[in-house]
């Protein structure tokens, strides 16, 4: 009846809670990184970090 996945993740309530909170943590990190990448892709060449090296190198 019970699949190994079910047993591993949702068998008991505290087990499921733990899985939920751990995945929330992981989700937040990956989501932040992923969305920042999307953002940088949308705004390619417009942000300060894209043009910074022109001026930072010129001074050194």
């Amino acid at each position: 009846m019970a699949s190994p996945l079910y047993n591993a993740l949702f068998r008991r309530n505290f087990q499921m809670l733990g899985v939920v909170f751990v995945s929330a943590f992981a989700f937040e990190m990956t989501y932040d990184v992923g969305m920042n990448k999307v953002w940088d892709n949308i705004n390619k060449g417009r942000q300060w970090k894209d043009i910074r090296q022109k001026y930072a190198e010129a001074e050194e």
Binding site: M1, A2, S3, L5, Y6, L9, F10, M16, V19, V20, F21, S23, A24, F25, F27, E28, Y31
Partner: protein, 232 residues
């Protein structure tokens, strides 16, 4: 008005009565005959609400009960996880508001050019509203500070523990007794002297004589490069 309603009610009752028993019997067995087309409502103007609905689309189509269970728990768990992540970052953003704002943080560090301070001179600068003493000590003064018997002090502290570079002494210019600002190059020990209640500090800012209980405080500071001091 009244006779009309009475008449219409009587009419409705009369229509309803013959089918009544049959109706009850049907209701009993509805679970078995969901799509019973023969059922008819006793009321005029039969509408959708009086029909027993068809629930077959709620049934599970294919797939075992186990995958269903796994899937529903997965969906519920995902919603919980995303909500938790959202709540966490919401709370985090609100807490960030309570920390020091950017203009306060910008004022919290003071940069000092050490080249402007000649050997054997005191400089007082303001840092977060308090005076900070910076002394460029001579070799003779460093030796004098090291010669003091640490064990004999009221607040025992070796000179090396109070400085990062021996020639630069940086400390808060607030007397540890009641908060006056001591005078530099004064007192019995050639260090600082507090005019309010007569506390004498030595050339390392340690309390030697008078009512003050502790040595002058050392703020957090750093030498990021030669001849540059950042306090804070």
């Amino acid at each position: 008005m009244a006779p009309l309603t009475i008449a219409s009610r009587a009419l409705a009752r009369g229509v309803a009565r013959p089918t009544c028993s049959l109706n009850a019997a049907r209701a009993l067995s509805t679970s078995a005959q969901l799509q019973d087309a023969g059922y008819s409502s006793p009321f005029k103007g039969e509408s959708k609400t009086t029909k027993i609905p068809d629930f077959s689309h709620y049934f599970n189509k294919g797939g075992s009960a186990n995958t269903n269970l796994l899937f529903s728990y997965f969906m519920v768990g995902t919603m919980g996880a995303i909500t938790a992540a959202g709540a966490k970052s919401t709370v985090q953003e609100f807490l960030k508001n309570m920390s020091a704002s950017a203009d306060v943080l910008a004022m919290a560090k003071v940069e000092v050019d050490l080249q402007a301070i000649p050997e054997g001179k005191n400089v007082i600068i303001k840092w977060r509203g308090k005076p900070v003493f910076i002394r460029h000590r001579t070799q003779e003064e460093i030796d004098r500070a090291n010669k003091v018997n640490v064990a004999s002090l009221r607040d025992p502290q070796a000179d090396e523990d109070r400085v990062q570079k021996p020639e630069w002494l940086v400390m808060l210019g607030v007397c540890t007794h009641l908060g006056c600002v001591p005078i530099g190059e004064a007192g019995d020990y050639g260090g600082w002297f507090c005019p309010c209640h007569g506390s004498h500090y030595d050339i390392s800012g340690r309390i030697m004589k008078g009512p003050a209980p502790l040595n002058l405080e050392i703020p957090a500071y750093d030498f990021p490069e030669e001849d540059k001091l950042i306090i804070g």
